[in-house]
């Protein structure tokens, strides 16, 4: 405890770096994955292509990707951008599939009703499809956010600052407290992000709030009996 008090500002700034390195890729990956998923929905060939590309990229181990990226991007090996680009790649690979599921969870009758009311394709996508797919979309986002936060710490092996630095430093100095604080800090960050995403989802789907809570509503929009796992 005394160590935490003495080094509080340092731990806090590492936590800030950690959060930054996991949140920015999350936002970027949503901006990439949603249009890609919509394109994949419209074109069968593209769909197969994107999904297999995603699963191959997802297979590449993170430590390997962290050291290959600087060569491809021309960044320095210690650059934070390496970690962030790698996380964007993983996040897009994961989100692509769940965004496709999300967009497909929207009832086709609603789509047709929107077309009948005169919605143009782009506006229909933005104002009808996208909002209605939020519950399933956010289930995917929550999985990605947890995995991002856990992955960022691996960057510490290369010397990129994050809460992971507490692990490498603690091991070097044979100091358990530091590692435990790193683990607790990472868990807290993951919890914080998850709570934030749940809150954001509630705010974005006001129409689901009155009929029996979020999980039930997610289950209904998802048509099959599964979402308990997604929210795990």
């Amino acid at each position: 405890m005394a160590w935490l008090v003495a080094n509080f500002s340092e731990v806090l700034s590492l936590a800030g770096l950690h959060l930054y390195q996991s949140v920015v890729p999350l936002l970027i990956s949503v901006l990439i994955a949603v249009p890609l998923a919509q394109l994949a929905r419209m074109n069968k060939t593209l769909r197969g292509l994107l999904l297999s590309a995603g699963s191959i990229l997802y297979t590449v181990p993170s430590l390997a990707l962290f050291v290959i990226l600087p060569v491809i991007l021309g960044t320095r090996i210690l650059d934070m951008a390496n970690v962030m680009v790698a996380l964007v790649i993983y996040a897009v690979a994961l989100l692509l599939r769940s965004t496709l599921d999300a967009l497909e969870s929207v009832d086709d009758g609603i789509r047709q009703a929107a077309v009948a009311m005169g919605y143009k394709p782009f506006m229909r996508f933005l104002t009808v499809d996208l909002p209605l797919s939020v519950p399933v979309l956010f289930a995917g986002l929550r999985v990605v956010s947890v995995s991002n936060i856990s992955l960022v710490s691996v960057g510490a092996l290369l010397g990129i600052g994050s809460l992971g630095s507490l692990f490498t430093d603690g091991l070097k100095r044979d100091f358990v407290t530091e590692i435990v604080i790193g683990i607790i800090g990472t868990l807290l960050l993951a919890l914080l992000m998850d709570a934030f995403l749940v809150l954001a989802q509630r705010l974005l789907t006001p129409w689901l709030r009155n009929d029996g809570g979020l999980t039930k509503a997610t289950a209904e929009s998802n048509s099959d009996d599964e979402p308990a796992v997604v929210s795990a």
């Binding site: 181990p61 060569v71 507490l166 490498t168």
Partner: protein, 256 residues
């Protein structure tokens, strides 16, 4: 016996060329520190981790999936385990239990349990209730229902979870090189510490290739193991969002 030089000689400063030269150097494909043996070590750690993880996760998953008891506990436990940073657990176990083979393996087990557990549970509980009731009404005992009806029907999802677990472990075994263990991660960690980027890049390519090959093999096994009766209706349903796909998306957590 020639000892590999500590620092490599390359014909170029370009890391891509260095990585290529490192991979093409026959010196690196033989001996106790060569790529084939390191790859075997890597697969050995992976296999050991997965056998422990399967022994823990599959029985629990089968029990919870079949009875529906303890669902909430298992799901939230898997969520917490998934959020644990593996690097942190690795360093913690090593400090508490000392160097050696088992402390890092236990940290990897913690990583492999959630996807396998979630996959098993989800696979079993996604089997249609009508099918289970039909089996029960035909006089099958509970173990028979579990192993002859629910497991074969849930196998695609169960194996999907297993595949996700394997991928995560293969990727993360690269990290145990940080703690004095072997495996392909040695090339990355040692290469970084002597700024030999040819070795780092070559090693990274080998790890990525190993992971992709393993995934292809597992996909093949998955295809062979799944009962042919399950394949036809899936194709018919085609573009509708099947619960199965959504489950696999949820089961695959992070990669490390």
């Amino acid at each position: 016996m020639s000892v590999p030089a500590l620092v490599e000689e390359y014909s170029s400063d370009n890391p891509l060329v260095q990585g290529y030269e490192w991979l093409m150097n026959p010196m690196h494909w033989q001996g106790p520190e060569g790529i084939p043996l390191r790859a075997l070590e890597h697969l050995g750690y992976t296999a050991l981790t997965l056998s422990i993880a399967v022994a823990i996760a599959v029985p629990i998953g089968l029990y919870v999936g079949h009875t529906g008891r303890g669902r909430v506990v298992v799901i939230s436990l898997a969520g917490v385990l998934r959020a644990l940073p593996t690097l942190g657990m690795l360093t913690l176990f090593v400090l508490l239990a000392g160097l050696g083979l088992m402390p890092p393996i236990w940290a990897l087990v913690l990583l492999a349990v959630p996807p396998i557990l979630a996959g098993t549970y989800a696979g079993i509980s996604a089997v249609s209730k009508d099918t289970v009731d039909a089996a029960r009404s035909m006089g099958m005992t509970e173990p028979q229902i579990l192993f002859r009806v629910e497991v074969p029907n849930g196998l695609p999802v169960i194996l999907g979870g297993f595949r996700a677990g394997v991928l995560q472990v293969v990727a993360t075994v690269a990290v145990v090189a940080y703690i004095n263990l072997g495996g392909l991660g040695r090339f990355l960690i040692d290469g970084l510490s002597v700024s030999d980027y040819g070795r780092v890049l070559g090693g990274a390519v080998v790890i990525a290739a190993l992971a992709i090959c393993l995934d292809i093999v597992l996909a093949g096994i998955q295809r062979l193991a799944v009962s042919p009766g399950l394949k036809a209706p899936r194709r018919q349903r085609g573009d509708s969002p099947t619960g199965r796909e959504t489950i696999t998306a949820g089961v695959q957590g992070g990669n490390s």
